[in-house]
Symmetry: C2
Subunit: 414 residues, 2 copies
């Protein structure tokens, strides 16, 4: 039996985890795949003279591209420049590529999938969403008989860690962020996480797979968690909700609505109990109903678990595109519906002198409203939850209310 040769590109956290896991579990990996597999190259510009794998390192991408023995490469470099170029060139030569690079898949997935298909190979990215949680293959394979109605998920571990600290330990956003950074959960520049860009990329990948058309990040309304305060966390809790950063894509008669934003999640929804750096993705299909996937959404070995799983599948299917995930490109966003046109319930917090006196006005504007009790509430503050209304109508009513009160916060409900 010949040995399948693979390449690992990028020897950072995920890359080194992939190599380490591969050799640690090589016996069961080969048993399960029914194939002998070995890593022939590791691509990185840095030197690793003390690595047990030092003989495999190369600084030249061409070594991998031009080696006919290499049938599968794992692109674990991240970013869009070299990763995009290398992936295109590998796929064009019929070499399968597996990746954890959510940014690349969310931006160029449709094109890269097309190139893979044209060249009889596969582009696989189980590791791009939810770390080690199986979600791409279950969505694409196991649930392929379903019309999808909705996908909602906690897709970013860093923000979920921060919100968990705010909810359970009454830390402020800044304190919780600092702790996340100290523990290595958040980067020095936390923008991609806390402003929702990372979750948006993952939602794009899930939505494109589920609905068959490329959902680009710019099609998604995205806002992060920087403005969530402990006041909001406490009001939410008193009303029976937890605040979570939720990626949500819903299929409505007039198009898809795609948002990443903080939401009040009912304690009756399993997503409300997903804490710390854990991720969870809930999928609603017309046949299966609700299914939920839960686990560690990031980290060296959980992500490597997904990468090596894809490597095994790619090796088994080398030279055939039959496992290719697939979605068509979208030349315009006419299948996306403006999120302001969708119905939503809204949590609202306002300031005004003797705020309770606003209740009749609020009720006359919105009809039935849930006013939220708060321990230690100051008299100049009031929080409530609107009934389900088209969001642009809520905005109009809030504009009227703002003549009598200062609008401090609004947060959508899930």
């Amino acid at each position: 039996m010949s040995t399948a040769k693979i390449a690992v590109m990028g020897f950072g956290v995920v890359g080194s985890g992939t190599v380490e896991l591969f050799y640690r579990n090589k016996d069961i990996i080969e048993k399960r795949s029914g194939t002998s597999i070995d890593i022939k190259y590791i691509l990185d510009l840095r030197d690793f003279p003390d690595s047990p794998y030092r003989d495999k390192f190369t600084k030249s991408f061409d070594d991998i591209l031009n080696d006919p023995e290499v049938t599968v490469a794992a692109e674990l470099m991240g970013g869009k420049t070299f990763a995009y170029d290398y992936t295109k060139r590998l796929l064009s030569r019929g070499k399968s590529v597996v990746t954890s690079n959510k940014e690349l898949v969310a931006t160029h997935g449709a094109e890269l999938l097309r190139i893979a298909k044209e060249n009889g190979c596969n582009y696989l990215f189980e590791a791009s969403v939810g770390g080690g949680i199986p979600i791409i293959r279950p969505l694409h394979k196991c649930l392929a008989a379903n019309r999808f109605e909705k996908i909602s998920g906690i897709l970013n571990g860093t923000t979920n860690y921060i919100l968990t600290k705010m909810i359970y330990e009454q830390m402020s956003f800044d304190e919780a962020l600092a702790q996340a950074q100290a523990l290595g959960y958040a980067e020095k520049d936390p923008t991609a996480d806390v402003d929702g860009h990372d979750a948006t990329r993952k939602l794009c990948i899930l939505g494109s797979l589920a609905f068959g058309r490329h959902i680009y990040p710019e099609y998604v309304h995205c806002s992060g968690i920087r403005k969530i305060t402990l006041d909001d966390v406490e009001y939410a809790e008193n009303a029976g909700y937890a605040i979570k950063l939720i990626g949500l894509i819903e299929n409505t008669e007039s198009g898809l609505v795609a948002t990443v934003c903080p939401r009040l999640v009912s304690v009756n929804n399993p997503l409300s109990g997903v804490n710390d750096v854990f991720n969870a993705i809930a999928v609603t299909g017309d046949a299966v109903g609700d299914v939920l996937f839960y686990g560690r959404g990031a980290g060296k070995f959980p992500t490597a678990s997904a990468v090596v799983g894809d490597i095994i599948d790619a090796v088994k299917h080398a030279g055939r595109d039959i496992i290719s995930l697939n979605w068509s490109d979208s030349e315009n966003s006419d299948f996306i519906r403006p999120y302001k046109s969708a119905e939503v319930r809204m949590y609202v917090r306002v300031h005004a002198p003797e705020a309770d006196s606003l209740k009749p006005l609020i009720t006359s504007l919105f009809g039935y409203v849930d006013f939220i009790p708060r321990k230690r509430r100051s008299e100049d503050e009031l929080a409530f939850i609107t009934p389900s209304l088209v969001e642009s109508e809520i905005d109009e009513k809030l504009a009227q209310l703002s003549k009598s009160a200062e609008l401090k916060k609004k947060i959508r409900l899930l």
Copy 2:
């Protein structure tokens, strides 16, 4: 493009759901599979003169077996007699078979997988565990890089419904069973569900996949929920646990320990919050850590969702065995470790006059023990949780205790 022809065998709940779902979502099923597919035969001995699919019905299995156009058959008949015979004959002819028949897979899986491999076709059974919840393919594909440490799950919806009613509505076992039967969740003869046989079959399938050797039902220690009383439910709740029927397989240095039995599950474990007819499966792998899969574990369309997902995969891979799940047969059970030799914590309930006077004896037997408070406790009853000890040692200590008290119940902790 030629049209792939498939057969559906058995037109009961799952069979009719499969046919209905297939035609309802035929457009997206064909788009996702990239193949034109049609159902050519439906096998059932009954007549369905009013069915919109009446032209497809046959009473002759040979029509399917001998039709070279048919490449995939869904065996949804259940049982082991005809299903076993038909499946073997189809696979021997190189026709792939997909099934929801957990009994057949748990009993003859190793043999049927071997026949499929020898004949270049596939035997797929995503629907056999967890209804529509994706678990077989995630375990076998996405997590293939992991050494599995543990699988624990709520694998039977009927018993979980009964226990939920006992916990939240203080129904007795008999009342809850009667309600489950009235709602169609439990059969008239509920033995397979309430005595744990159904969950055992599912655990065998998961364990065989994860650990690579056929785990036959007789290798699993199995006990059901008939003897659980509201007293136990209340003590468990007071100690911070919910009682669930848990299928558990653990990989220890001296072998696999496989059990299906009621267990006290800590409220901190996500499985404790899985209620009603929902199922959930938690998998621990050395790389991925803990992942959890949750959803409706039974029902017409959730199960059909899994069946049709497998049909699509089988059609795409017709004539190749490369997606075959695989495990080797086990000629003996020497890789299974007696469950009594494993360490466990045990909930114990005893009766004795002035039961509190037993506390010094219990403490001297077990060392540190958690005595459980109970509202409205009668003085002749005492419940406690032992520390973690080898189960046979616990039994010896309980035998000593039984000289001074009547042993009413023991339930393992998860």
